[in-house]
């Protein structure tokens, strides 16, 4: 349960020729492993920029980012690619599966870039598809899968290299409410059963409430960072009888660390 992510005074300024646009104005943040965090914010708040930096797709203008104990702010493009490959998994709003490859080929792709053998790749991909409930759909093309199934395949792809963290950018944005719920419960499942750390970006507080911790970003800064939303939701579910009443929860120990 160590510290996985440590952001210290991260700034990101975009130079668009004539103007300098500040997207992040000094963000500091700590995430421990096994946390399920939601980052909320309106569009333009800087949440996407924050996500890009967390995902090593972009470098901060200043400040340090220590991921899994390593300072990644000044790494080369090549080294960042390796980190993304081995230690991160991405889930996108638009699923972003390669359209000309089958589900299993999509799922095994991170292993291709990790240098894993063909047979081993296929074996692990099929196992992962089972875990997300797509056991019989491995050879379907993305256009033969429903939105929810595509996102499950994307989740399988994100998990296949056993990453330290899953980064999900509006993962339910293109799904109906019922399927959204399914996917979010999937996230909860892999967080609770596999201890997978997840950071999810959303603009919707209801979706954010599926996570244990909600961080609100506004105008390039963190406005609030609490576990209140999750507590409320759990309380609602306990009242509805969805989940059994618990007098103590291992999750409680998270609350003190989140501050």
């Amino acid at each position: 349960m160590g510290i996985l992510i440590a952001l210290d005074n991260i700034e990101k300024i975009y130079n668009t020729g004539a103007m300098k646009v500040p997207a992040l104005c000094g963000v500091s943040l700590t995430v421990h492993s096994e946390e399920f965090v939601a980052i909320m914010g309106a569009s333009g708040s800087g949440k996407s920029t924050l996500m890009n930096i967390l995902g090593c797709l972009d470098r901060p203008t200043s400040g340090t980012y220590r991921f899994d104990g390593q300072d990644v702010s000044q790494l080369s493009r090549q080294e960042l690619a390796h980190i993304r490959n081995r230690k991160m998994g991405f889930v996108f709003q638009g699923f972003n599966l390669l359209k000309r490859h089958s589900a299993v080929e999509n799922v095994e792709m991170p292993l291709l870039y990790a240098g894993v053998s063909s047979a081993e790749r296929r074996r692990r991909a099929l196992t992962m598809l089972e875990i997300v409930g797509l056991a019989n759909r491995g050879h379907h093309m993305p256009n033969q899968l429903s939105g929810g199934q595509q996102q499950r395949a994307a989740i399988a792809r994100a998990l296949i290299n056993q990453p330290q963290i899953i980064l999900a950018d509006e993962p339910t944005g293109n799904l109906d409410s019922h399927t959204s719920d399914e996917i979010l419960r999937e996230f909860q499942k892999i967080n609770q059963e596999r201890g997978q750390t997840i950071i999810m970006v959303t603009h919707d507080p209801h979706i954010a409430s599926y996570a244990d911790r909600q961080i609100v970003v506004r105008d390039g800064l963190i406005e609030s960072d609490s576990t209140a939303g999750a507590q409320l939701r759990r309380h609602e579910e306990e009242m509805d009888g969805v989940i059994p009443l618990k007098t103590s929860s291992p999750r409680k120990s998270l609350q003190s660390k989140a501050r």
Partner: protein, 404 residues
């Protein structure tokens, strides 16, 4: 990503749009195919030419009346005579295997059953040795026959087929040439076509005296044929012959020759130069086609990179390094070019075989040429595919993921 996987990824991407991939590689196919076919044709033609010249006799020297300008036109015509031939025989004979003056006219020849238009060659017995004629049946005419202007003749294989079609024995039979009867005393062995084209087996050989006295030919000599004893004596022989003839023709120093002395070897060397120049020209033209083909590949790869911007972004997000992306697209370009090269080589070889059958020269396809073609195709792929691959590798993943 392992090299082998990279090739498979590249191949699957190319197979997505087979039509486009094929059309793109067409430039390479044509360029390589043309080079292979034409280089092979040139080599085959040269081979055949050398073969023919060999059959003519490598150390042969031909002396003709009238000098020849660079373009091959006749100027300063002064006829050659038997005296000229005798002078050469006396003064240069020691380094020659023989001197044979010849007179050649076209005539109609009749046998009992057939008529055929052919060349009558009036000469001396030395002609047989100089030109390496084999006597298949009977005998060659002798010095005695020449002295007596005997009415005898030898016929070539083609003449025999035309005049004695029912394969009767021609020896002892009579041939009628313009009213004059000649008795066939021999049949020559086969020789085939001369390098300049005419069928060497379509000739009738008679003593030169018979030619001039009985067959109504003028006293002039068409040409004097002689052969140097060996290849290194060739140049010396030519010089001495020229000297002798200039004296005999009373040419003052500074005046141009009014005769032409050329060796068959010179003609062979000229032929080699001509065919080589043609091969080089064609190779240059084909190279232009290769460049155009390469530009085509670069163009299509640029389009492909733009089309697949989002895909590149996704690959980068899941861990493809810039090098992974560059290698992927570079391999696609190289595979395109190599497939074009292989098809081009195959078509080129087929073309070479087809041309050989049509033209009658041997199929000459050197493995070296094929290997070079292969390497050139790969080189074109690498060179023209590099820029698009570089562009792909430099895409910003975030921008690429946003691309529609």
């Amino acid at each position: 990503m392992s090299f082998f996987s990279a090739i498979r990824v590249a191949l699957s991407a190319l197979l997505v749009n087979k039509g486009r991939s094929f059309l793109t590689s067409l430039g390479i196919v044509i360029g390589i195919g043309a080079v292979i076919a034409m280089v092979s044709a040139g080599s085959g033609a040269r081979y055949k030419l050398e073969d023919r010249l060999d059959s003519l006799g490598k150390n042969l020297i031909l002396i003709r009346p009238g000098s020849r300008s660079a373009q091959g036109f006749t100027q300063d015509y002064e006829p050659l005579t038997r005296d000229d031939a005798e002078a050469i025989r006396k003064r240069v004979g020691n380094i020659l295997t023989g001197v044979a003056e010849s007179q050649i006219t076209p005539r109609l020849v009749q046998s009992r059953t057939a008529v055929h238009g052919t060349q009558i060659v009036g000469s001396v017995p030395e002609l047989r040795e100089i030109r390496n004629w084999k006597v298949a049946m009977g005998r060659f005419y002798s010095d005695d026959d020449v002295k007596k202007a005997a009415r005898v003749c030898l016929i070539g294989q083609t003449v025999r087929q035309k005049l004695f079609p029912d394969s009767t024995d021609p020896i002892g039979k009579d041939l009628n040439v313009g009213g004059v009867h000649l008795r066939v005393i021999g049949v020559l062995g086969e020789k085939g076509r001369s390098p300049t084209g005419p069928d060497q087996d379509d000739q009738v050989f008679v003593p030169i005296t018979t030619m001039q006295s009985q067959l109504g030919a003028r006293k002039e000599i068409t040409l004097i044929v002689c052969a140097a004893k060996s290849e290194n004596l060739l140049d010396r022989a030519k010089e001495e012959i020229t000297k002798v003839l200039r004296e005999h023709h009373h040419l003052r120093p500074g005046a141009a020759d009014n005769f032409d002395v050329s060796s068959v070897r010179e003609m062979a060397e000229l032929a080699v130069v001509v065919t080589t120049v043609m091969q080089i020209l064609i190779a240059i033209i084909a190279s232009i086609s290769l460049i155009v083909g390469g530009v085509g590949i670069m163009n299509i790869m640029l389009v492909s990179v733009t089309e697949r911007t989002r895909e590149i972004g996704i690959r980068m997000a899941i861990g493809a390094t810039p090098m992974d992306v560059l290698v992927q697209f570079l391999i696609e370009a190289v595979v395109l070019a190599l497939v074009g090269g292989v098809i081009g080589i195959t078509l080129g070889i087929s073309g070479a075989v087809g041309l050989s059958h049509l033209a009658g020269w041997p199929v000459v396809v050197q493995p070296g040429t094929v290997l070079i073609a292969f390497i050139v195709a790969a080189g074109v792929g690498i060179f023209f595919g590099y820029y698009p691959a570089l562009k792909a590798s430099r895409l910003d993943p975030i921008e690429a993921l946003r691309y529609e």
